[in-house]
């Protein structure tokens, strides 16, 4: 821990302090304004949202960091994951546990395959043309949305019951909640730690982090950087799909969910610092908490739901004013 702190740049140390102070402020406001139980419920909702956003944003951040591609189709990956997962979960003739696991596996694998084809076939020829990439991913997002609409229709899909083990209830801050919510938080946390270990404790992780800084030099060391690009794109796509599938038993599936989470994810990536995995993880939680607290504030005082939407954009502007490269982005 001491080594971690001493190895941080002064800018990143300041960012950590800002985050700690800001989160403490949010907690204090919640406690003083909403009371102990509502504050606890709000924080829990914020962490839950933060974990879901993280699954989309981490992929966006990894892909942007390494490939310099702002992938507007990342929200569509979540959408496809949710609908395909929904379909498998609902239609498979098997026990609910098997259907649940099959939904996760099927949705993730399909989207990972789409990601692989998309990177190798469409994005790779455009690595030298960033504007074209943006237009391409934007167009693909629209096409994916259209496909999903044609296959599954416009009507929202209602939440499906998770397996019984995850559907049990528990009480937290005097509110009865489904264990499934804990599962989502656990899933997000597991992915957060898993990707961290991948990036920091494995050779492929070292290559990815080096590639984020200088892909050309990685290549000059004898490493096939294009293969790493594809791998990261697959990983990023799969994480978004996992987020989508996780949402199905929680809030069902709608055609709008992809874009909603894409906007949140872009805000998270900008706040955390483009390409910084650590920044994305921290910013996901911060954005989740901010939105949950703003929602509760608007509910209790202002009767203006738009406040919740605006709050994270205001947060983004504030962070960029203090640190233009985001909390954990690199200065240059």
């Amino acid at each position: 821990m001491q080594t971690y702190w001493t190895n941080l740049t002064p800018q990143h140390r300041r960012s950590w302090l800002l985050v700690v102070v800001y989160v403490a402020l949010l907690l204090a406001i919640s406690w003083l304004d909403f009371g102990y139980n509502t504050a606890g419920q709000t924080v829990f909702r914020g962490i839950l949202l933060g974990m879901l956003v993280f699954l989309v944003a981490s992929g966006l951040s990894l892909i942007f960091g390494l490939l310099d591609v702002l992938n507007f189709a990342q929200g569509a990956f979540l959408l496809i994951g949710a609908y395909v997962g929904y379909d498998i979960y609902q239609s498979l003739d098997a026990s609910v546990e098997v259907r649940f696991l099959a939904a996760i596996g099927g949705g993730v694998l399909l989207v990972a395959a789409i990601g692989a084809v998309m990177e190798a076939g469409l994005i790779r020829p455009l690595y030298e043309r960033p504007i074209f990439q943006i237009v391409l991913t934007f167009g693909l997002a629209a096409i994916f949305l259209d496909f999903v609409e044609r296959i599954y229709g416009r009507n929202p899909k209602q939440p499906l019951s998770p397996p019984p083990l995850l559907n049990e209830k528990f009480t937290l801050f005097q509110q009865s909640l489904s264990v499934y919510r804990l599962f989502i938080i656990g899933l997000g946390l597991a992915m957060m730690i898993g990707v961290y270990i991948l990036l920091n404790r494995t050779r492929i992780g070292i290559i990815i982090r080096a590639g984020v800084q200088d892909p050309e030099m990685v290549q000059a060391l004898g490493i096939n950087v294009r293969r790493v690009f594809t791998l990261v794109f697959i990983l990023g796509s799969a994480l978004a799909a996992l987020g989508g599938i996780a949402l199905v038993p929680y809030q069902g599936a709608t055609l709008e969910m992809g874009n909603q989470f894409l906007i949140l994810a872009i805000v998270v990536v900008v706040i955390g610092g483009m390409g910084s995995y650590e920044g994305t993880a921290v910013a996901s939680i911060v954005v989740g908490l901010t939105r949950a607290v703003a929602e509760q504030l608007s509910l209790e005082h202002f009767d203006a739901p738009v406040l919740a939407e605006t709050s994270i954009l205001l947060l983004m502007i504030a962070v960029l004013l203090v640190q233009p490269s985001g909390l954990f982005g690199r200065g240059e």
């Binding site: 190895n7 800084q213 290549q219 000059a220």
Partner: protein, 240 residues
């Protein structure tokens, strides 16, 4: 069946033409590097020395001409394939991975598992500071230490040719001495092709030279002859 003759030069660059975007940077560069030597590319700023190294390693592939390494054509291959054949590249401006620790900067250069462990004595003997700084991020190192790390990284894998771009650039005189000594020592086991703007450094290190002028190689030969030829030095390098 007769055995394939060993080529006289470990690296042969023949009349390469390289473009960066639409700019025609190299308009016919020929470089021959004998094995076991230190050869230096000389020339004024913007002459095409760095582009020549980048063309050899495949980061700026030539559109015409030939490059052969140990007799095998390498032009047209992708950079990672060329590097895997045994060519190490130390770019100018001490490009290291700033967010990776010194250890990670070295480990990433392993081509076979355990390369760093096998070479540790040699590398840390050459650059003892790097052992002490092993767990520190590359971005925290001083300019001289970053240059050492950039060279050390190219030594991790078994490379038989090192391309080193401007190793003395921006270094204090005492560090330049250290760097020169390190390059001399590593040249005992590896052939070196160097780009060096500082003629003093170049003339003390290299046995052979190639002068590049406006993207064309105009002169080559033994460094011992060049240092005697003041007119040539003044004409092409602008130093008296």
């Amino acid at each position: 069946m007769s055995a394939t003759p060993t080529p006289a030069h470990i690296l042969e660059v023949r009349g390469i033409h390289t473009f960066i975007g639409e700019f025609h940077i190299l308009e016919g560069v020929t470089v021959e590097v004998p094995p076991g030597s230190i050869t230096v590319l000389l020339g004024r700023n913007g002459a095409g020395k760095t582009t020549t190294l980048r063309s050899i390693i495949g980061l700026a592939p030539p559109r015409a001409g030939e490059i052969a390494f140990k007799g095998v054509p390498i032009h047209g291959l992708r950079a990672h394939k060329i590097a895997q054949m045994g060519i190490g590249y130390v770019p100018e401006k001490r490009i290291i991975f700033r967010d990776l620790t010194v250890g990670e900067n070295l480990l990433i250069a392993e081509r076979d598992k355990g390369d760093l462990e096998r070479k540790a004595d040699f590398i840390f003997g050459l650059f003892p500071d790097l052992k002490r700084l092993y767990h520190l991020p590359g971005g925290h190192l001083s300019g001289g230490q970053q240059q050492m790390l950039a060279i050390a990284r190219a030594l991790v894998a078994d490379n038989s040719l090192l391309l080193i771009d401007e190793p003395s650039e921006g270094l204090a005189p005492v560090l330049i001495e250290h760097m020169m000594e390190a390059i001399r020592q590593l040249s005992a086991s590896t052939t070196v092709l160097l780009v060096e703007q500082n003629f003093q450094v170049a003339s003390q290190l290299a046995e052979r030279y190639v002068i590049i002028e406006e993207g064309i190689s105009v002169h080559s030969g033994l460094m011992a002859d060049l240092v005697q030829d003041k007119a040539l030095i003044t004409t092409y390098l602008g130093v008296a």
